[in-house]
Symmetry: none
Subunit: 191 residues, 4 copies
């Protein structure tokens, strides 16, 4: 029962992610989300009393999916270089498989509709990233770059690659592109 409930909420949120990404927050009526999710207008407000609740839930969901994908297969014993390469590939492959969530995070990461609380909660999932890069700096494997810049740099560059693939510019040769681009970013960052 609780599962059904959660599943119903999940369907709504998934639908919202897709539609917000396609048409924007104000461009997507709640009635349309309800219709696409196969429920009634009233039911949507039963689960999410305000439209903003929806976008916050959507954001939290997408971010936690992203965090889980990033962590996959990271070997604690591996070198910094190995970890970074793994992250780089994880991120690109996740973005390609989940373009709606990827774009959603990009678009709404700075949105005023995402509450501070949601923002902070989701941040917790990403602490491990900073640790990895800090460790790299300590071990002199990565250049000393002002505190959080490393992470942002890594992610923005990564996004450039995902965009290309999502927009269909290099649909084949994905693995090759992952490797080539990793060399690009890594040669710049590493010592």
């Amino acid at each position: 029962m609780s599962d059904d409930l959660n599943e119903k909420k999940a369907v709504i949120v998934r639908t919202a992610v897709r539609l917000f990404t396609e048409k924007g927050f104000h461009g997507t009526p709640t009635s349309f989300i309800a219709k696409e999710a196969g429920i009634s207008n009233g039911t949507l407000f039963h689960y999410f009393p305000m439209k903003e609740d929806l976008i916050n839930s959507a954001y939290a969901m997408a971010k936690s999916h992203l965090a889980a994908a990033l962590k996959a297969g990271i070997d604690r014993e591996s070198t910094i270089d190995g970890k970074a390469r793994c992250l780089w590939g994880n991120l690109i492959r996740w973005g390609i498989k989940n373009p709606d969530e990827f774009r959603f995070i990009e678009q709404f990461g700075c949105s005023p509709y995402i509450s501070k609380i949601t923002e902070e909660e989701t941040m917790n999932d990403f602490g491990f990233l900073e640790e990895i890069f800090m460790e790299g700096m300590r071990k002199d494997a990565i250049k000393k770059i002002p505190d959080t810049l490393v992470v942002e740099w890594f992610f923005e560059a990564n996004s450039a690659i995902i965009h290309r693939i999502i927009e269909g510019k290099n649909p084949e040769k994905i693995d090759e592109l992952i490797d080539v681009s990793f060399e690009l970013i890594w040669r710049g960052m590493s010592k």
Copy 2:
């Protein structure tokens, strides 16, 4: 007279850039744009018969400002390395000075409200960029990277820096940050 007219249109567009960036397209009522621009609601529609016309004009304006800023001080005789360094700095400094236009381009570059025509028209201004990087590849100064990826890569990385500064993370030390980051990107890209 013609100047007054153009100036009035310009005021409206500038206001729209700011508000669209802050609140989004659907989140910004035309009535609010008019009020902020100091004109009546009817006048706005006198100049821009549809709300979409406004966003297209805004996009065209921002892009042409950007193009002009990029070109400034590029020395034809300079090396690729010199040109790239100049572009890098131009871009960051322009973004910092014009955060509204910078964010506007980021947000609405992929927007369905920007018409194909506007998109194409604005693209013409940026041809010189590809030429610079192509020349770099021909002269073996830059790695051979799939066609347009170089430009996107360069820009996305640049954006990461602008974001930091706009969001106030490294407000001082801007020139230092420009240099440091250029090394990061360029060591990766150059041979």
Copy 3:
């Protein structure tokens, strides 16, 4: 429940008939129709998504009321003369009792807002009229007059009478006026 729903739609349509007749289609704001019908503006659009839907529904309703009124008491066995006299009286009495619907049909019968579909659907109800007059011609009781002209002639003349009474020129003596006018039209048409 279904009755309530239909009743609500009916109230709206009746109100629209009256107001469109008084002030015209463009002269009647939907907000005013809603207020007069005792509902909110939004509710009106819940039932009639476009203003044009309202006028089409109104037209269909008025026409079907008219058709029903016309048929009342027509005796299949009666002579042409008897049938025509009955129609003549039915029409005038209906027009007097339902001046809003009568005027509405007159004003909007040729309106561009009435869709072809509505026009065709309502026409089906009036087939029996042509049959009556055609039968009259076959039986040599009515002059041979170019096809549909008979019906139009009969109706336009009838309207002249209704107008007089509605506008208060001969409020008493209605039955007398019906008889007198029938002689006028019938002596011209019949052989």
Copy 4:
């Protein structure tokens, strides 16, 4: 100069007649009338300070044209029968030649936008009609029909014919239709 002025006003009024007829009063923006008349928006308001002035002028013009057309060729010495036949033909031919003005009068004859004053002024032109029919009744050539009904009856029947022709149902055979229809109406009315 005065002629130019009158001609300019006349152009505006003629344009208004056409557009009001096609799209209705509220359906025709003054700006559109101005454009079609080849003048600026402001100029229209110079000549007709309010939109209602335009419709009143248009009504007065159309009615005076109609009155003039009706009178043409009426022989004072002719019999009632001859005069009626002449009127009947004059009216139909005028309606066919000036469908815009004809429809305009039909549509706006009962409009609330036509002021009492305009209505009364135009009425003066039509006094001769009543005289003709009254004379007919006195001479026992026409049935005694309640006062003004005769005129209305005559006109409404006439309109039925004009409509048919304007709408293209009997485009040829116009003279024949005039004769046939006159017999229809006259046999009913005359003694």
